[in-house]
Amino acid sequence: MRIGTFGAVVACALAPLAAQPAQAADKIKIGFISTLSGPAALPGIDQGNGFSLALEELGGKVGGLPAEVSKNDDQSKPDVAKQLAEKLVKRDQVDAVVGVIYSNVMMAIYNAVVDAKAIMISANAGPSQIAGKDCSPYFFATSWQNDAPHAAAGAYVQQQGVKKVVIIASNYQAGHDAAAGFKSKYKGEVIDEIYPAFGQPDYSAEITKISSEKPDAIYAFIPGGGNVPFAKQWAEAGLTKTITPYSAFMYEAVTLPAIGEAGLGVRSAAFWTYDLDNPASKKFVAAYRKKYNAYPAVYAAQAYDAVLLLDAAVKAVNGKIEDRDAFAKALATVKYDSIRGPFTFGNNHFPIQNYYATEIVKDAEGNLVQAGKGLVLKDDQDLYHDQCPLK
């Protein structure tokens, strides 16, 4: 009896497998993983908001298929993320995993997801390994390769004719990568590189040092808990008039309410800003502000875009998402109204996209916003796509 039951269960489990390629699936399962708790959770919460908003606008359907969605909190811990990813692809058998803020989390879950032939859409993290030799046909990024925004900022500073720069970046892998990315496109003189400890609360020593070195500009990359303190202390030191601050991922919608007017005048480069002039972006920003009563940051935009991408690709294969290779091909080639405007995926499935100059200003209602200030790089492709064997 027991063996008979077992056999029946196996038969039932296998039956849909045999029937798969021919017909459309009756639903799509999506697992969202992001950092939703702990001190590093603000970008993840923003990302989750963007993801939920897109699904809500689509009426809970993706490409016409009812979406079965689970939201999972990785606590910014790679080991927790790995367990979540394995549960999602093995037990829940999701069709796609979406989200992820931090690159170390992405590296922990990447193989588990793509080896199970589930679609992995990064809505933020873009480590160089995945853009290069470890690329996968099942991986897509609606964000950017990690070096690219820093390189774009370097290009922006270069275009501004800045002669002398001091780089200040948190002392961990991404901080050193940011400095390298910046220097790849900035050809002026870097007179000093300062690497304070990650999450350090007081920057008086570093800021005093910078002011004594008299650069024309600084490039700052201090993410996590250190960003708001650095921003306030930089403003308090009163140096912005003589030393132009450029930065990345510090002065954004999720931190500006805490930074306040101390953020005014800080420049950066980004692939998307809230005021980007295209219908998809305008619709997204309006809906986000209505629902959450705040401006979205790039993390929400990237997650929203990931759902739009899935929606378009599911339609393109008429719901036959079980044929993973055809589905992946559709994701790579489908045209959809992205919040960044028209773009294409490179061979490694990272976007080939424009980057824009940005500056922190006040909008008409007096809110602090990161506003676009014109094109910096057109159709920029990351530095690692040559190393990816995909065609």
Partner: protein, 308 residues
């Protein structure tokens, strides 16, 4: 390469950082030395102080007023924590106290997240304290940081007068030395200890409020400063206010000057990439090396408090 202006500026930064550490450590060392209680949740009181001030600031729009109003609130919060949780731990051993107060950290951090949310709150520097002022020709320094230095020195002076010159200070010292005798003389020692704890909480809260405009007022903001404060009270000698004053200044100066000059010094001696990797790591280790050196020569700290 080193110029005097820069060295002076960095020294002021170090003094300012040290004085804020002192505000924070004073309460911790009082509670540990006098009440024999290891309170890891001291950082949570610092956080609560900052949150109270930020909330009141959002209502009244004035930083000094917000701090004045938030101080008694933080004192009360300290009294509540002492009364509800810690009172029953005075007679237990230190490991029990560590476990209980560690639990308290987790609880209070989560409470802050539930009440105020995960996003940092804003407190702006008031206009009359913003900008820079010329100290001596050629050296300008941010006014707000000067105000912090003045505040730190003022509190240090008041604390000294309170503990050394007043009847209350005498009772506190006597209660620490011989609890039963003081009780026999008709002093309610429990009430006294509750007051001391609340006072320590208010001092920690004051540190959190004062640096609030420079840092980010958010849950768990006190966790990092606690480690520095433990270094301070170990160097200074447990229970000694004077020791924690000297040690806090030492730690502030060593940390700031190390961060300011060590990486630059290494660049002149090592290849650039190696110096970039080693310099920051070494700079952040300096205060722990200092602590190890002090412990080697003065295992009781620089100013061991007389006990028993």
């Amino acid at each position: 390469m080193l110029n005097l202006t820069l060295v002076l500026n960095q020294a002021l930064n170090g003094v300012q950082f040290g004085l804020m550490l002192f505000l924070f450590s004073a309460g911790l060392t009082l509670v540990l030395g006098i009440m024999n209680l290891v309170n890891l949740a001291h950082g949570s009181l610092y956080m609560l102080g900052a949150f109270f001030a930020a909330t009141i600031y959002s209502w009244v729009g004035s930083l000094p007023l917000a701090i004045l109003l938030a101080l008694p609130v933080t004192f009360l919060a300290g009294v509540v924590v002492e009364f509800v949780v810690l009172r029953s731990f005075y007679q237990r051993d230190h490991l029990d106290q560590v476990l209980a107060t560690f639990g308290l950290i987790l609880f209070l951090n989560e409470l802050a997240r539930v009440v105020w949310g995960a996003a940092p709150l804003n407190m702006a520097i008031p206009a009359f304290l913003s900008g820079r002022v010329e100290l001596i020709p050629g050296i300008t320094y941010p006014v707000y940081r000067l105000a912090l230095i003045a505040l730190g020195l003022l509190v240090a002076l008041l604390l000294y007068l309170l503990v050394a010159k007043t009847k209350l200070g005498m009772l506190i010292r006597a209660g620490a030395s011989n609890r039963e005798m003081v009780e026999a003389l008709g002093v309610d020692i429990r009430l006294l200890f509750t007051g001391v704890f609340g006072f320590g909480a208010a001092l920690a809260g004051l540190a959190g409020m004062a640096v609030g405009p420079l840092l980010s007022v958010e849950p768990a903001m006190g966790d990092g400063v606690l480690i520095l404060a433990l270094v301070v009270i170990v160097i200074g000698g447990i229970g000694s206010i004077r020791g924690s004053f000297v040690a806090a200044l030492l730690v502030g100066l060593v940390d700031t000057v190390g961060r300011a000059f060590l990486p630059g010094l290494l660049v002149t001696m090592l290849p650039r990439t190696l110096a970039n990797a080693v310099g920051p790591a070494l700079a952040s280790m300096l205060i722990y090396l200092l602590m190890a050196a002090v412990l080697l020569f003065r295992p009781q700290g620089l100013f061991p408090a007389a006990r028993g």
